[in-house]
Amino acid sequence: MDQKKVVIAAGSIVGALSVALMFLGNPPNMGICVACFIRDIAGALGLHRAEIVQYMRPEIPGFILGAFIISLISGEFYARGGSSPLTRFILGFFVMIGSLVFLGCPLRMVLRLAAGDWNAIIGILGFIVGIWVGLYFLRNGFSLGRSYKMDRGNGYIMPGIAIVFLIFGIISPAFIFHSVEGPGSMNAPFIAALLAGLIVGALAQRSRLCMAGSIRDIFLIGDFHLFKGFASIFIVALVLNIVLGKFNPGFVGQPVAHNDFIWNFLGMFLTGYGAVLLGGCPLRQCILSGEGDTDAAVTFMGMLVGAAFSHNFAIAASPKGVGPNGKIAVIVGIIVLTVIAYLNISKSVKQNEEVNVNA
């Protein structure tokens, strides 16, 4: 199958599974949300104590393990790292903060739009502008430097952590929290969610599906390849939502959403900006971490810690809106990303461009 068909098929199946998971019990318009689910895992681990968003979501370890297994089969698994890991941790941290101020990762942004939540349009505009700003730095030499091949064992750590998460989810020891009310209490059956996660992980690995990449490539090289995946998710989810009566258009009263335009825009601006500097959206980071990229695994840890801070410091938005701490955190995030982007404009990559490739 050619790449175009793969990315359209992957997007369509991700869209369908997202609606199916919502139908099976995941929170409304949140069949899949990488940011929200990492936040729920942070809660399940007790890294934050927001009682309504704590659950060991099996979808996330599913993404990582799905990508791990399929990359082992395809021979694409290889351990690598060393491309500014601490900087990536910080970028992951702020990508999560942006997502939790908007209330959703870029994937959920598309799913929200497909369910008629028009606030997602504002989010998409912010996401696009954030990507455009990040691309400005990339075009001018921004780089987090090269990653290098590592011993294979390094690449097994993140899939190992994913298995530990699943074991915690299955045996649910007393120290793992599970919300009794709120979004954290709403979940599809464990096995169904895990299977969906594995399928999405495998498909996203094969297709390189990436929400940030899909917009980025249009600006950068006029290439709509990844955008076809983005569009397929939207179209399939939209059709299924309409058929199943889950399409409720409007700005007000949307589930797990607020209609504060400025902060929907700026939240997703921060996420898009950070994702393009990282080289991929939160879903893509999970996938890369499964196929041996330890830098992406460090980014995942940044997102996990960012989610914990978001709730410990009252940064995350709620359906009531965005509090003062959330606003301050987004502004701080935009400043930090800009400083990182500026400081990492490097001539070194350019200088190393020309080498003897036959050596």
Partner: protein
């Protein structure tokens, strides 16, 4: 001699950016060295969209993408 570019270990979309810059600054053929299939596929697609012919040669765990104009 084709111009040679090492894009190994660079995050998306930098392999494409360095390829693009190399094509803009030179009229010669190009050889891009990458270490993963994502970068390989992205560069091949980018070059084909520009109307260039490409040929991929595996070199150990890396790939050399020859871009012919």
């Amino acid at each position: 001699m084709p111009k040679k570019v090492d894009a190994r270990g660079l995050s998306c979309p930098q392999p494409v950016i360095v390829t693009k810059k190399a094509l803009e600054t030179s009229k010669e053929d190009l050889e891009v060295l990458v270490d993963n299939t994502t970068a390989r596929d992205n560069i091949v697609r980018f070059a084909k969209n520009l109307g260039c012919k490409t040929e991929v040669v595996e070199q150990g765990q890396d790939f050399i993408i020859k871009v012919m104009r």
